[in-house]
């Protein structure tokens, strides 16, 4: 069985994928339904950042991007969507935290991790870059300075 897994992984890993977002509807902070597929229907670059209120590196990353987000938007029209994966225990802290920090992102709840699971995300933070509805870049983890690398990718791909 282990061999099968290994071979399976081998075959799969030899392809690269142009993945799309699953067709899911998530709620925003005000309780409105947001359809993911319609949300990314534009030529702009979208960044999806999977985070949680209890994840310190996630908050460090979103704080760091928040400081330069205005400049990013002016130059590239990029939009960052922050996917809060908090479950019921901490979900109620999402909204006051987002406002308290003054983040300007669109924040969506993924409280039973349907989107996280569909994209096979296991560790937070996890960042996706989308162009023309396709995922062109994925990244796990945050170290100070990663936001600069992210912006390089955004600039390269924006028109």
């Amino acid at each position: 069985m282990n061999k099968i897994i290994t071979y399976g992984l081998l075959i799969i890993s030899s392809f690269s994928f142009a993945q799309e977002l699953p067709s899911l509807v998530l709620k925003d902070l005000d309780g409105n339904d947001i359809n993911l597929n319609t949300l990314v229907e534009s030529e702009n670059i979208f960044v999806f950042s999977f985070w949680a209120t209890w994840c310190v590196p996630c908050i460090n990353e979103l704080d760091a991007i928040s400081e330069v987000y205005e400049d990013w938007q002016d130059e590239t029209k990029v939009k960052l969507i922050a996917i809060a994966t908090d479950d019921t225990r901490t979900k109620k802290r999402v909204r006051p935290m987002v406002n308290g920090k003054g983040w300007e992102y669109l924040v969506l709840y993924d409280d039973n991790q349907d989107l996280k699971r569909a994209l096979n995300i296991t560790t937070l933070p996890h960042t996706l870059v989308l162009k023309n509805q396709k995922i062109i870049q994925r990244r796990t983890g945050y170290n100070p300075g990663v936001e600069d690398e992210l912006y390089e990718i955004i600039k390269e791909n924006s028109n």
């Binding site: 992984l9 005000d30 479950d87 308290g100 409280d111 039973n112 296991t122 996890h126």
Partner: protein, 559 residues
């Protein structure tokens, strides 16, 4: 396994340059393996659950593949391998290599139908939640069928039927449920107000092997809830009731102690830019709910139907997580001096951003977060001799836990930033853990964390922690040093040490050191260290784990 994994990583990178494209395929791989060693401080390696002392190397591997085809269909499989045994402290039902979950779903803009394994949550999960947590070894996916239907963003209806996944088997008990949600603001075309209401039903049928049972095989639970939003103000309330069922204590199902259960969850808050205030109240009475009665309260969370996490702040630092509250939703009449029927309490959160260029804000502003939580038992009359109780609706019984914390985040310069963290906790071990001899403990914990950017992606992060308590047993000190060599490579070392005379932890350095390499969505980590005995908590659910020492490798990949 590690060599194989490394090989796969290399192959992946070499092929992905010239690779083909397959649309609709998503793959995730996770491997957690440990080589446990004998340690003079934490003892020789022993796995009591599997009665094994020889297999020092353990690995849990997960491979999940989702394939979307014909635009509306998705097939998913998750293969899991626990060889030669699972990591320590996992249920022995996770054994060998096998198909963990598999499903086929059909999805359009308003219909979602799944057969096979699926994860569902009704409302806040107080009545039904299926989820996976690999770190804790939880997977209570339902195996059966699910249909959801949405009408014009106004009505959402879901029906589920199935049995719980338990290890690689399924539960004997059956779950069936129905959920409905209505967005009234869409109906009335309100712009500034959002008003959603929901109603759910969950039934559990678990056969009874008694001749004259005083309770029924099927237990019915109902939930009603309202969510309200007006500009910066929001509020929600949920009420759950569960029909009469036998009380289960230490796997013993009582035929004479039959009680209904209920739960109330209320939340309200106000927030605007730079300011957030949130308050939650919850009361739970006999809300333990399992697909197999006898498994009520099992430490592996197998067969669990509903989700009742401890509603306290999830702290981020080692010393702030020594005394962690776990929600007390079950009835427990183990001793006349320890009678419990549930819990009542709440928490308050306050977030504030002190503006730039003010006295306290400084050049970059200052971010503050305050949290206070208080939990106690239900007040009422408890009759141990006749195994019965009556509770007061809003009465507070003996205090179980309290927690007050303040976090201040301060950026000093483009290169320096710090976090100051203070926590005061009260932990009633006797009541929470059913530990008769234990006295309540009061702790004060202080943490200072600083990050310094060195340029070229290099940075260092330092943490200093201290725990003071009113007990001779606990007087902890701890620290962390982290060095990020680049955005891809980082190393860390941490240590906590108890200066008190607690027999199980005193005079032992619980140190850990390791490093990780990240490229894209692939992360490889290596860690050596000692695990402190205690609660490991993820998402408000905690499990007690004994001490262990070992070398751990983790690999996660997503394509």
């Amino acid at each position: 396994m590690r060599k194989i994994t490394l090989f796969i990583v290399l192959i992946h990178f070499s092929f992905s340059i010239h690779g083909q494209t397959i649309d609709g395929l998503s793959v995730g791989f996770e491997s957690n393996s440990t080589w446990y060693n004998d340690d003079k401080k934490t003892g020789d390696f022993a796995d009591e659950a599997n009665k094994d002392q020889d297999e020092h190397f353990r690995a849990n591997n997960y491979l999940k593949i989702d394939y979307n085809f014909l635009s509306k269909l998705t097939a998913s499989v998750q293969i899991e391998s626990y060889e030669p045994f699972a990591l320590l402290n996992y249920s022995t039902n996770f054994e060998g290599t096998n198909l963990g979950t598999y499903s086929l779903s059909y999805k359009t803009s308003n219909i979602d139908a799944t057969i096979g394994h699926f994860y569902e949550q009704f409302g806040s999960g107080l009545i039904l939640r299926n989820w996976e947590d690999r770190q804790l070894g939880i997977n209570n996916a339902l195996f059966g069928g699910k249909v959801s239907y949405r009408l014009l963003d106004v009505v959402g209806l879901t029906a589920v039927y199935g049995n719980h996944r338990v290890g690689f088997e399924t539960s004997d008990g059956t779950i069936f449920g129905f959920n409905s949600e209505f967005e009234l603001d869409s109906v009335f075309k309100w712009d500034e107000i959002a008003l959603n209401i929901g109603f759910s039903y969950v039934g559990r049928e678990d056969k009874i092997d008694l001749e004259n049972p005083n309770y029924k095989p099927t237990t019915n639970a109902f939930s009603g809830r309202v969510d309200f939003n007006y500009r910066n103000f929001y509020s929600s309330v949920e009420y759950v009731t569960k029909s009469e069922d036998a009380i289960v204590q230490v796997n013993q199902v009582s035929n004479d102690f039959i009680k209904p259960g209920n739960g109330i969850l209320f939340n309200t808050g106000y927030s605007k830019r730079g300011f957030g205030l949130d308050a939650t109240f919850r009361r739970l009475e006999n809300m333990s709910f399992y697909s197999n009665r006898k498994k009520s309260g099992n430490i592996f969370f197998e067969n669990i139907i509903n989700y009742t996490p401890g509603l306290t702040k999830q702290h981020d630092y080692l010393l702030t997580n020594i005394f962690v509250y776990q929600a007390q939703s079950a009835v427990s009449f183990l001793d006349p001096a320890l009678l419990k029927a549930g819990e009542i309490g709440g928490q308050l959160d306050f977030f504030y951003n002190i503006k730039k260029e003010t006295l306290l804000g400084g050049k970059y502003g200052t971010k503050m977060a305050f949290n206070a939580a208080y939990w106690s038992g239900l007040k009422g009359t408890f009759d141990y001799a006749n195994q019965d109780y009556e509770t007061e609706m809003f009465g507070f019984g003996s205090k179980y836990f309290s927690d007050v914390s303040l976090e201040i985040r301060k950026k000093w310069s483009p290169k320096w930033r710090s976090i100051f963290y203070y926590v005061n906790q009260y932990y009633n071990k006797k009541e929470i853990e059913g530990n008769f001899g234990a006295k309540p403990i009061v702790t004060n914990i202080g943490v200072i964390e600083s990050t310094h950017k060195l340029g070229n992606g290099k940075s260092i992060r330092i943490e200093a922690q201290k725990l003071w308590s009113d007990s001779e047993k606990h007087d902890w000190i701890g620290g962390t040093f982290e060095f990020n060599l680049s955005s891809k490579i980082s190393f860390y070392i941490n240590d906590i040490y108890n200066n008190g005379d607690d027999s199980s932890t005193a005079k032992t350095h619980y140190y850990n050191a390791g490093g990780s390499y990240t490229k894209g969505a692939t992360r490889v980590g290596l860690n050596y260290g000692r695990q402190r005995a205690g609660l490991v908590c993820v998402g408000g659910v905690c499990r007690f784990v004994p001490e262990a020492t070992g070398l751990t490798a983790t690999v996660t990949m997503a394509f």
